[in-house]
Symmetry: C3
Subunit: 207 residues, 3 copies
């Protein structure tokens, strides 16, 4: 039960990230091939960087077709129905936030195996969740959006820290998983709804 | 015989890709060091990404000097004779297309060793052939050209698919190699000559 | 003694590279999270690429907190006191040059273990010293500065070549280390002071 619950969230996250890649590519008028590649980059970029620096090779998505099929299918459907899907703004944001939560916690769990320091695990979880978007933006010649809207990554960091706090208690790991995924998604959704930001770095006259 | 034939095509491909890197760098007025680095990035970028995600480490070009010498030599000659070489447009296109075919098939063969699914092998062959150009363009702040001219990657994908079809027959592998390299090169050359493109994604009013 | 001397230079280099990342990010008006990430990218980007292509995994900075703490601390202090630190231009340049020398020699030493050809070691040392800055500039949508001011990388290459010459003599390795770090730093500092460049590639009418 827990297994399939996490799998569903994982799939929803990959779908949401693929869709974000498709729309970013359409905006820059890339061709069909470019649009598919950007869907892949957005969906598996973060996890690939995580697995590369950890040495988990060959990269897991190479050895089965599930991830790749899911991304290709999402990209195809998004391209065909882009006028409809574009209007599902809040649905997409919801999946994207869930996916972000999932990737963060999944990244952390993978790290426990390597016996890393909790601070590093938080970092790696954040990298998994955020760097697909960074790679997508760099390839498309945009300055990565997560470096300018800080609540995105801050939500991952807060959720990841919460995870380690919860593990000190007697909670089952599955329950801690779900609480943290929910917390990360909620922080992200609230930040978007109320346009929350951390205190700015720049004085008015610097902008 | 077969071995040296493939080696020659490999060398021609590396030379053609290095030259493409040099010209892209000259266009952006990079200095001497920048021009050399871009030649390397264009020539070995795709293979490096392939080897990184497969875990074939240390990266093979680190352990012998042949590849590096070939790239450095091509870059130097291109810089010195750039006014002449720039006019060899069709010769370069020919080598570049051969190189593309070679990298695709070579990437696939390397993958058979890891027992990957044929679809993944096609993907990896395409990555080897295309991502040197992607890295070159991203570093130079251009949106990668292969994401906007789709016949480039489509030629790799078609050729790679043909390869797996041919392996089902009784053909010798060497013959299949050559047929596919020829097919990829021919598709590319014809696409450039007749300006072929896949059906567009955008309506006129979107452009 | 030697050990702690190299450690201090390493730390100074990481600090200088972090500071360069912070200022590059502030210039593009990144948010707090973006500024920290750019400090990390500038400080550990070159070493990470080196370790990836060599297969030294998991990447060493994942397994202890020293590097990460040093970068985070430097970034924080730089953000808080940026008006003061920006005026320390020459001090920063000095640390940056020392760091560059250190990363070059440290990169080479790491490579001796893999029994690579000296030419490859020079290349890897240069990659370690330069590609943090390349990654910083690519993410920020700038054409990498080291590809347009060639003395930067040329200093690494000269210093690295000197290192292999010195190893042929009877000098202690520690002495060779220090001489080369000093030479690289001095070439860089003199090049900046006297605005030295290699002979240009472009005719006036091409610029």
């Amino acid at each position: 039960m827990k297994y399939s619950f996490l799998q569903i969230i994982d799939a929803l996250g990959i779908i949401a990230f693929s869709i974000s890649g498709v729309f970013a590519a359409l905006e820059k008028k890339l061709d069909l091939f470019g649009v598919f590649i950007l869907a892949f980059v957005a969906a598996i970029g973060g996890g690939t960087i995580r697995d590369l620096i950890l040495g988990d090779l060959p990269i897991p998505w190479l050895t089965n077709l599930t991830t790749v099929s899911l991304i290709a299918g999402s990209a195809l459907i998004t391209i065909l129905f882009r006028r409809v899907i574009r209007n599902l703004h809040y649905t997409l944001l919801f999946f994207d936030s869930l996916g972000m939560g999932f990737f963060t916690i999944f990244g952390i769990q993978k790290r426990l195996y390597y016996e890393l320091h909790p601070v590093m695990c938080v970092g790696i979880g954040t990298i998994s969740a955020c760097f697909g978007g960074v790679a997508r933006d760099v390839i498309l010649n945009n300055i990565p959006i997560i470096f300018r809207k800080e609540i995105y990554a801050s939500a991952c960091i807060l959720g990841a820290a919460l995870y380690f706090l919860l593990l000190q208690t007697n909670l089952h790991q599955e329950v801690a998983d779900m609480i943290c995924i929910a917390a990360i998604s909620a922080i992200r959704l609230l930040a978007v709804k109320y346009d929350l930001r951390l205190p700015g770095l720049y004085r008015k006259e610097e902008l």
